[in-house]
């Protein structure tokens, strides 16, 4: 369970304070697929980053499985991400100096998992890149890079997958493929999936849809087709 309580984030912009998130409160139960939508600058990515502990809020708390994320040290946060959270970025963020296979291997090595290579091979197969493991990110297409990023996100079998516009840099065919991959993995492993997007069609596939505008939650509703109730 992810719980957000009165979450506010302000940043300094020139001489003024700019509020990116304004008193956001909601909970995400385990296994739910949530779409976070809204226009550019509405605070979606910031919210996602705060959940992952990539940034700290100006006020308010975030708890994951009862642990207060906002009170953790940098190293504890790193530990939390290693254990529970997978992250997929819009611009992939693969480590350019490592091959696709090694990029998938890294989170497991950080966590100290022993038979990581076999699992990395398996994940490569899951995302359909069996023969591309030895390639460096620059040698892969955008879709392939994002597939590696998804495999990497699932490497440590996280309970939560946070995806920040994962199809934003891809053409529609690749975007569709990536979304299928994520939803398939979500249902197969029953992870909590929080997807930031401003693509309405993508959002409609989620069980729940939260819409942000100027840092405020303006809509939070279950999707009639996919939702099972809040």
């Amino acid at each position: 369970m992810i719980s957000l309580q009165n979450l506010t984030k302000t940043v300094r912009s020139g001489t003024e304070d700019l509020t990116i998130l304004d008193d956001v409160t909601f909970e995400i139960p385990d296994g739910q697929f949530v779409a976070l939508t809204g226009a550019s600058g509405s605070g979606k990515s910031t919210l996602l980053g705060l959940i992952a502990g990539l940034d700290s809020p100006s006020s308010g708390t975030i708890t994951i499985d009862g642990e207060e994320v906002t009170a953790m040290s940098e190293d504890d946060l790193a530990g939390l991400r290693s254990e529970k959270i997978g992250f997929v970025f819009q611009s992939f963020h693969l480590i350019p100096s490592l091959t696709a296979f090694e990029n998938i291997l890294i989170p497991m090595e950080i966590r100290g998992i022993r038979d990581a290579a076999d699992r990395a091979e398996m994940l490569l197969a899951d995302v359909g890149l069996v023969n591309r493991g030895h390639h460096y990110p620059t040698e892969l297409s955008g879709g392939e890079q994002q597939r590696v990023a998804i495999a990497r996100a699932f490497a440590n079998q996280p309970r939560i997958l946070l995806a920040d516009e994962p199809t934003g840099n891809l053409d529609s065919r690749n975007g569709k493929h990536i979304l299928e991959l994520m939803t398939a993995m979500h249902s197969a492993r029953s992870v909590t999936l929080v997807l930031v997007t401003h693509d309405g069609e993508l959002a409609s596939q989620a069980q729940r849809s939260i819409v942000l505008r100027d840092g405020l939650v303006i809509t939070d509703e279950m999707n009639l087709v996919n939702g099972t109730g809040k």
Binding site: S45, T46, L48, G49, A52, L54, D55, E74, D75, A78, G79, L80, R81, S82, E83, F87, F89, H93, L94, I95, P96, S97, L98, E102, I106, P107, E109, I110, R111, G112, Y136, R152, N156, D164
Partner: protein
């Protein structure tokens, strides 16, 4: 731990190209430090380690006069009392003129003649050219064994006869290796003859510069024997020295030289460290996203720092080992280039411990200089993956950074103290380095800000180039500092060389004699002057000279038992040529007291001012001289300064007329005319035939020898200086790498805005041209300042500004920087702008 090792391995695999400069900076620094240290250690081993072989005995007694019967009996008494002497021999050395006995061969040469008796040598080897040991029978009945160079100089061969003094000797062999070595400044080739033959040659009778030596080989530690001999011989002119003291002195000198050279190496290594610092900064900057990803994937800051630290350690280690190989190549280069100036049996291998020290230093410098940039990894936040921020957080100063900075400075100080072998020198080194860097940095700051304010450039490329020098995160001042320092070292050395060489230039000193005659007897002087005048049309200037030794100052004997005094013995204990005359010479000025103008009954002497300082005497003090066993006490009437640039003769002590006229004396004569070499040879030959006892110095030969020494010295320093330049270039390349991504971005924008490739190339050329020019101006400016102050205050020579060196230096520096800068950035011109702009 596994994660750290495996990620390190992968990172090195993919980033080694980017870290190549890191590797090279360390390799170059370690290479120079190991090469310099090994060189001097090997030199010490070749020259100084076996002082016993250098002395060819355990104890040496020497005197410039014949050992008197009293002295001999005192020596015998001590020797028999201690009973540790195994063997002894005597020898006599002097310089003399040698010429072929064949009257058709006009050559003459000054030689260093040594008369020996068996057993010789007591210690060490004496090998002939064919490798066979020296056989004393070669010297029997006027035989001579000579250095090979003499055969070439005199154009004679083995079996030919040569004349030395009044006697003729047959050359019976050529020696390969002389006992005691052949190092040091020597005016003539060595010739060995039988000691008894010296008298037949008439040299001991007339020559003033004879050195008589008794050598002993002992069975035990000779220290006590030396002490007792010194005690017994107190007040005489006999000097006693043992190989142990020689070894001690040589050892100290070499250790000092080694440590100073090691500091030069450390300077290069520290410059390499600056390169390391730049590369590490660029590296961390480039790795920001990877670090953020790793943090996002759950790796803590400490683990990530460990990965990069391990990477630095590995590269530092491999770079250092490569540096040792570079050092070995450097030594081989030294053998190829300088073999003639270095001892024959010198080794050119890098020492094991020196190599280890170098590797240790290399790794330490790698860590010290990359620690601060690496610490920035801590401040990289994973949120930059969501929202790219500027690097404000990376530049923030925090206590950890200050602390680490302090630890780095202390570690550097530790290394400097270790390398210098002295706390004070180490501290001075670091403070001096910081001060020099500070001054150069300030100069760079000043020049770039002037350039910014000028704004007079009409050309777009030049305006852009000036802007580039001020772009955010620019490396302008660091480049100016590093390259400027390299240019400074090399240009300062060259400017000094030019001034030194000028100092020995004939054409500038109109009063430097071309030929110098000594040991002329009173009965010979008029005839000699007449012959010279008849041959070259110049009346030689003659000066009476008397050999004298200082025995007392203000009634107190000079105590050579004291170590401090003993160390100065070369300057104050030697035998001086003194003269007497009523007038000051043209090149002399009185700096204290008054020159004698009227007659006086009191014996008076004029002392050269530096010698007066050394002897701690002033006007009114008294100095007692030993002149052929007779004590003459004179009052110091005045102190003189001698202008060595305008000198014909330079006497340290000049007596008032009326004191020395009856003392045993000979004459010196000088001629100034520049006579062509063949005529000079002919004149020398003719004079030697008539006056076999005189000695002639051909000043051209001496000047050539000195110039050769100066040139070798300059070449050696330039060799070291070139390492400094190379470090500067590496820093330049590292700095270019650091700002490359920004340049790519700017070029992409300029291209989008319609700039042609040629315009961008012109900006590149102008930017590095300006940078090189400024570095050259800084280096050349400070080089002029240093060479002026060294010439003026340390070497005491006349200084002249050399426009060729300064302008050439600035041009060369600009060219190097343009070449390196353009080569390292050229690919930027060919990037497609869209890809660049998208990736930003």
């Amino acid at each position: 731990m596994n994660f750290i090792f495996s990620l390190t391995r992968r990172e090195i695999r993919s980033s080694w190209r980017r870290l190549l400069f890191f590797f090279l900076c360390i390799a170059l620094g370690v290479g120079s430090i190991v090469a310099l240290r090994s060189l001097i250690q090997n030199l010490t081993r070749a020259v100084g380690t076996d002082a016993r072989a250098l002395l060819t005995a355990d104890i040496e007694l020497n005197s410039t006069a014949d050992f008197s019967p009293t002295e001999i009996s005192k020596i015998e008494e001590v020797i028999s009392r201690l009973d540790i002497v195994e063997d002894r021999n005597e020898s006599i050395t002097t310089s003399a003129m040698a010429s072929p006995a064949d009257p058709a061969n006009p050559n003459t040469r000054l030689v260093e003649l040594k008369g020996i008796e068996p057993p010789f040598p007591l210690v060490g080897e004496f090998l002939m050219e064919d490798g066979a040991p020296f056989d004393f029978r070669l010297l029997k009945d006027h035989g001579a064994v000579v250095a090979k160079i003499l055969l070439e100089d005199l154009k004679v061969g083995v079996g030919d006869r040569i004349r030395i003094g009044e006697a003729e000797f047959q050359i019976r062999g050529i020696f390969e290796q002389e006992p005691g070595g052949s190092s040091g400044f020597r005016l003539g080739a060595r010739v060995f003859v039988e000691k008894s033959a010296f008298d037949t040659a008439g040299i001991t009778r007339n020559s003033s510069r004879v050195r008589r030596v008794i050598l002993y080989r002992t069975s035990e530690n000779p220290t006590e024997l030396v002490r007792q001999l010194r005690e017994a011989l107190q007040g005489t002119t006999v000097r006693v020295r043992s190989y142990r003291e020689t070894q001690e002195n040589i050892g100290e000198q070499f250790t000092r030289t080694e440590n100073y050279l090691a500091l030069t190496g450390l300077l290069i290594l520290v410059l390499g460290g600056v390169g390391v610092w730049n590369v590490a900064r660029a590296f961390v900057e480039q790795k920001r996203k990877s670090v953020a990803v790793l943090k996002c994937l759950g790796a803590g800051g400490t683990r990530i720092i460990s990965v990069y630290l391990l990477q630095i350690l590995t590269l530092g280690l491999v770079g250092s080992i490569f540096g040792v190989f570079l050092a070995q190549s450097g030594l081989l280069f030294v053998r190829w280039r300088f073999i003639e100036a270095l001892p024959e049996k010198m080794s050119y291998a890098v020492g094991g411990w020196t190599a280890m020290q170098g590797v240790l230093l290399g790794v330490a410098i790698s860590i010290i200089f990359s620690a601060l940039p690496l610490l920035q990894v801590r401040n990289i936040k994973p949120r930059l993956l969501l929202r790219d921020e500027n690097n404000a957080s990376l530049r923030r100063l925090d206590p950890a950074k200050w602390l680490l900075g302090l630890v780095s400075v202390l570690a550097l100080l530790g290394l400097a103290v270790w390398q210098a072998g002295s706390m004070i020198v180490g501290v001075f080194f670091l403070v001096g380095l910081a001060a020099t860097a500070g001054v150069l940095y300030l100069a760079a700051l000043l020049l770039t800000s002037i350039l910014k304010r000028l704004k007079i450039f009409a050309s777009f490329s030049l305006r852009q180039a000036v802007n580039s020098l001020h772009r955010p995160g620019n490396q302008t001042r660091i480049i100016l500092l590093a390259v400027g320092l390299g240019a400074f070292v090399v240009l300062a050395v060259h400017s000094l060389q030019a001034n030194l060489v000028r100092e020995f230039d004939f054409t500038l000193n109109q009063r430097l004699p071309s030929l110098f005659f000594i040991d002329i007897q009173k009965s010979q002087i008029d005839e000699l002057v007449r012959i010279i005048e008849a041959r070259i049309g110049e009346k030689a200037e003659t000066t009476p000279t008397v050999r004298a030794r200082i025995s007392h100052i203000n009634g107190e004997a000079i105590d050579f038992q004291q170590r401090e005094v003993r160390e100065q013995r070369g300057q104050i204990g030697r035998e001086f040529s003194v003269t007497y005359r009523p007038k000051l010479d043209l090149n002399e000025t009185v700096v204290a007291g008054k020159w004698w103008e009227t007659d006086s009954d009191v014996p008076q002497v004029s002392v050269e001012d530096e010698m007066a300082t050394r002897l701690k005497v002033d006007v009114g003090d008294s100095i007692t001289f030993d002149i052929s066993g007779r004590k003459v006490t004179a009052q110091v009437a005045n102190l003189r300064k001698i202008d060595l640039r305008n000198t014909r003769t330079a006497f340290i002590f000049v007596f008032r007329p009326g004191v020395l006229e009856n003392a045993p004396q000979s004459f010196a004569a000088t001629v100034l005319n520049r006579v062509p070499p063949t005529e000079r040879q002919r004149l020398q030959r003719e004079l030697l035939n008539i006056f076999p006892n005189i000695q002639i110095f051909d000043v051209a030969d001496i000047v050539a020898t000195v110039q050769r020494l100066v040139n070798n010295f300059v070449l050696a320093i330039s060799f070291v200086g070139s390492f400094v330049i190379l470090s500067g270039i590496l820093i330049l390349i590292g700095s270019i790498a650091l700002t490359k991504s920004q340049r790519i971005y700017e070029n992409a924008i300029l291209k989008t805005l319609g700039a042609r490739r040629s315009t961008l190339a012109a900006i590149l050329l102008a930017e590095y041209g300006l940078l090189g020019f400024l570095a050259g101006v800084i280096g050349a400016g400070f080089a002029v300042l240093l060479s002026w102050s060294v010439s003026r205050f340390i070497m005491n020579i006349r200084w002249e500004f050399d426009p060729a060196i300064t302008i050439g230096g600035i041009a060369a520096t600009s060219l190097i920087v343009v070449l390196v800068g353009c080569l390292a950035s050229f690919d930027v011109l060919f990037r497609k702008p869209l890809g660049t702009l998208r990736s930003q």
